[in-house]
């Protein structure tokens, strides 16, 4: 069903958007302290539209708030990559690059989708993902080809995160773009960045999966607890 596919997408965007928002006030410099919430707001904006639309298509009366704030980790359908903890700046930037490079290709496939809202989101998100790729790729290159310390951290991020990329290309709902077909283009997009960043592209990595079935890491529960407590304690709270 289309609404289930949209819910999966919305979960990806909300979870990564919330992860990025955790940097707010903690980024290494003022410029990044503004840049990271900018990226987060792009993702959360997309998540809101998708939640709202998924709820309406489902027809059970669930609002975007119900879907974002009243579901437990076990029913979240986000891929594991987006819920990975922020780690250091290298981890955050690499996670962003992996996801944005995937979503840019994905939204390009959705530009002529039959659903008006999906088409609208795609048109806006393609541009946003283009910037996310630029921003994160520039950092990955500078950290990977930077100092001994930054290169070590960048390699550690690749070791920690690459195993979560395979899940992005698992088959999904037939009403939405075919994710499996995007893997080649995704790798072709990222390999030159890795080369420039003096990073080896990992081969033969065991790919961790389970997020789409609701099997998440421990961190997602903690994240959702923080994200949902206000709405759960004060249902319908607005500001």
């Amino acid at each position: 069903m289309l609404w289930e596919g949209l819910l999966e997408l919305a979960d990806d965007h909300l979870v990564l958007g919330h992860r990025l928002s955790e940097w707010c006030g903690h980024a290494p410099m003022l410029e990044e302290d503004l840049a990271l919430p900018n990226l987060a707001l792009d993702l959360i904006g997309t998540a809101r539209t998708l939640f709202d639309h998924a709820g309406k298509l489902e027809g059970a009366g669930r609002t975007e708030d119900d879907l974002a704030y009243l579901r437990d980790a076990r029913v979240y359908r986000n891929c594991l990559l987006v819920e990975r903890p922020n780690g250091d700046f290298a981890h955050t930037m690499l996670r962003q690059l992996y996801f944005a490079a995937f979503m840019e290709l994905y939204w390009q496939q959705a530009l002529d989708h039959t659903d008006d809202i999906v088409r609208g989101v795609a048109g806006k998100a393609v541009k946003e993902m283009g910037y996310h790729i630029r921003h994160s790729a520039e950092w990955v290159i500078r950290l990977g080809d930077g100092t001994e310390e930054s290169a070590r951290r960048m390699r550690a991020a690749v070791n920690a995160l690459h195993r979560y990329t395979g899940e992005m290309f698992e088959p999904s709902y037939s009403e939405l773009p075919n994710r499996v077909a995007l893997q080649g283009a995704w790798e072709a997009r990222l390999k030159p960045v890795f080369t420039e960043a003096m990073l080896d592209w990992p081969n033969d990595v065991f790919m961790q999966t389970g997020g789409r079935q609701g099997i998440h890491g421990e961190g997602l529960g903690h994240m959702l607890a923080t994200m949902q407590i206000l709405h759960r304690a004060h249902p319908g709270a607005t500001w």
Binding site: M29, E31, L34, A35, N38, H135, E138
Partner: protein, 129 residues
Amino acid sequence: MQTNAAQESWLPNRGAAPAPPVGGAPPKLLKQEDDAMTEIPLWEVFIRPRNGLAHKHVGSLHAADEVMAVQAARDVYTRRGEGTSIWVVRSADIVAADPDQAAENYDPAGDKVYRHPTFYDIPDDVGHM
């Protein structure tokens, strides 16, 4: 002008225009405690709000190089739709006129009001100019 106390740290000046040059000295980075940050140069940011208008100085920021400076300028200064074009210039590359020469630079223009285009009668047919 900033106080000496403010100059002890680079933090209060961030996002604002650099302190004006004193005694003709070029703008320079303020004292920074963290050595790593001293290697990150300061950039002046110019934004063009609309086609047909000139780029206008909006502030400054720190970035490692010109690519990162343009990205940071986009994130810091165009979040509310302020711009259609961004320029960045290394603050160290800006040459300022010597304030000690202010009198000889600017005073001679003071008594030449005829240079202002306000001494012409504009025919009514021309309308608003």
